[in-house]
């Protein structure tokens, strides 16, 4: 447990020393501040009577808009943006953890301690995940608080959207760790993971692609790949559906097909990464 805590602490110390993470927090803070200062709402009897953006009056055509619906609409749309942003930034902030650990002159320092290799890898994985969770909590929590401050409307489901994003991050970081263990390259593990992210999004249209390809083998290959890879498009949809709670016409996703198979992908990636790491000669 002490070794685990020390390893997680080191991940956080490294993150705090890296400009990328500082930049992430700075950008998040800037975004939050702009959002907090630029929007001024005039609420009368729980409805929006007037709004100013950067001091300029917005034309509401004399209508009173229900605040609850407005906030839900904003949070639903914004959760989709956060899914992409949160996932990308979390990967960017953690993909280096394994390649840096495996650097010559560094790995010896860690493996010469009485810590099993799997435990060492998993401690860095959990450190990376905690880091991603802290980033997400900061960004989503701040936006949620500001919305509450400006409108008096609180939707806890917006915060739950962060859990789905973190789940997606957990599975993708596991895959980035696998590539990092095999190639010892941050750039390669980032590129391959981002490629998988987008490729998996394309595969959500598997039936259209299968109908367009010329052979049955290709069609089956597309369908097989869909079930192997994480369901990134459906996870984004799941995030939005969870936040909107069925409003705005966003359909919920099949939990087993989406979360189950994506979790399997993440677990398998982590198992393979641990297996390869524990057998590697340094």
């Amino acid at each position: 447990m002490r070794a685990w805590a020390a390893s997680v602490e080191e991940v956080f110390r490294e993150a705090s020393a890296r400009w990328t993470l500082l930049a992430y927090f700075a950008l998040s803070t800037l975004f939050i501040l702009i959002f907090a200062l630029a929007v001024n709402l005039d609420i009368v009897d729980g409805a929006l009577a007037g709004a100013k953006l950067f001091g300029k009056e917005l034309d509401l055509a004399g209508e009173k808009i229900d605040m609850d619906r407005l906030v839900l609409g904003f949070e639903t749309g914004f959760s989709g943006v956060l899914f992409m942003l949160g996932t990308f930034l979390a990967l960017f902030a953690t993909a280096h953890l394994v390649p840096r650990l495996q650097e010559k002159g560094t790995i010896d320092l860690y493996l010469s301690r009485p810590v099993g290799r799997t435990k060492l890898l998993l401690s860095r994985y959990s450190g990376g995940l905690l880091l991603a969770a802290a980033n997400l909590l900061y960004l989503i929590g701040s936006i949620w608080l500001i919305v509450f401050w400006k409108t008096g409307v609180a939707h806890p489901r917006f915060l739950l959207g962060g859990v789905v994003i973190l789940f997606t991050v957990a599975c993708l970081v596991a895959f980035a760790f696998l590539i990092g263990v095999v190639t010892s390259s941050t750039a390669v593990s980032l590129m391959v993971t981002y490629a998988i992210f987008f490729f998996a999004m394309l595969l959500s249209a598997r039936e259209k692609i299968a109908a367009a390809v010329s052979t049955e083998f290709s069609a089956n290959l597309v369908r097989t790949l869909y079930w192997i890879f994480p369901k990134t498009a459906e996870l984004a949809q799941g995030t939005v559906a969870l936040v909107s709670d069925g409003a705005h016409g966003v359909a919920p996703v099949d939990p087993l097909a989406v979360y189950g198979t994506t979790a399997l992908f993440g677990i398998l990636s982590l198992v393979l990464a641990s297996w390869r790491f524990s057998r590697k000669d340094f």
Binding site: R2, A3, A5, A6, S7, E9, E10, R13, E14, S16, A17, R18, E103, K104, G105, T106, I107, D108, L109, Y110, L111, S112, R113, P114, V115, G116, R117, R279, D281, F282
Partner: protein, 314 residues
């Protein structure tokens, strides 16, 4: 002496990615180091020194043979609980301070945070880094980084130290301090395995050495035994004239005059004593008689060249 480091028949074959090339890094290494012993591992580049140390630490798996630390197979991480290691060319995270580095690596060795915090000031003082405790490692010179590495190897008070080029980049005063520190640790019962290219350092620090060549132990033993040149002795006496030297030669001894003294080659100790008797019988006074020794460097170069010669003739 119960061995704390043991290796038996260690073999390591490195294969290229597609298995087309094979390199025999180790070809049957046997080693044994006891508590309180300082053991030096010598050899030219590629002899297998680092591979041996990496196998002892579980960083690399042997192709055949086995190794144990405190009787525990090196494949078990528990074997490293009482081991301190200083790798060659180590790179501590530059964003950590010296204090944070020792705290993190101490806790990774199973120490409680409070125990590390209590030990760090003393440890930093021992390696003369007290004034740099809260400075980031990236600002350290090479010698300072090396001393921090030594402190990190000692942080959990290990019973075995495996040190790869511990004085690399350290100034002469620092080298002396590290030598003293290692002797001090050995006196406290630590077993030390030292891997160094600096033969003078090894000669000054180690009790026993093994010279590796092409993955095999070419020679192993106490430095005094390895550097002793059989039955050659240096004699200083007076008066010594040509008649006396001729009498020595008549007994079958080889005799050379070298810079005011005589180098004698004898069959054995009895033969040597008979020459001393002959010297005294002629009224000469003996002022010095000592075995002729090579330096460790002479022994090392001879062993390496002999090996190369043997390989060329094969």
């Amino acid at each position: 002496m119960t061995p704390v480091i043991e290796a038996e028949g260690l073999r390591k074959v490195y294969r290229s990615r597609f298995g087309t090339r094979r390199v025999n890094a180790l070809d049957g290494i046997d080693l044994s180091v006891g508590a309180g012993e300082v053991f030096g591992l010598l050899g030219p580049n590629g002899a297998g020194k680092t591979t041996t140390v990496k196998i002892l630490l579980g960083l690399t798996r042997p192709t055949a043979g086995g190794a144990r630390l405190f009787g525990i197979p090196v494949s078990d991480p528990e074997s490293r609980r009482r081991v301190g290691y200083l790798p060659e060319g180590h790179r501590f995270p530059g964003y950590l301070t010296a204090r944070q580095t020792l705290s993190i690596f101490g806790r990774m060795s199973g120490m409680a945070r409070s125990a590390v915090a209590a030990r760090v000031p003393d440890l930093l003082a021992r390696v003369r880094l007290s004034d740099w405790a809260d400075v980031k490692v990236k600002k350290f010179s090479k010698g300072m980084t090396q001393r921090l590495g030594l402190a990190a190897a000692l942080v959990h008070d290990p019973d075995v130290l495996l040190l790869d080029e511990p004085t690399d980049g350290v100034d002469p005063v620092g080298r002396r301090e590290i030598r003293d520190l290692l002797r001090d640790e050995a006196a406290r019962g630590r077993a030390i395995l030292l891997n160094s290219h600096l033969l003078s350092e090894i000669e000054l620090t180690c009790d026993r050495v093994a010279v590796l060549r092409r993955g095999r132990v070419a020679a192993q033993g106490r430095i005094a035994d390895l550097t002793a040149q059989g039955s050659r002795y240096r004699m200083t006496a007076s008066p010594v004239d040509e008649t006396l030297l001729a009498a020595f030669r008549d007994t079958g001894a080889s005799v050379e005059r070298v810079n005011g003294h005589i180098v004698l080659g004898t069959r054995d100790l009895t033969h040597l004593n008979s020459l001393v008797d002959a010297l005294r019988a002629r009224g000469a006074l003996l002022t010095e008689l000592s075995p002729v020794r090579s330096t460790l460097e002479d022994v090392f170069v001879d062993l390496v060249r002999t090996g190369e010669g043997a390989e060329k003739t094969q």
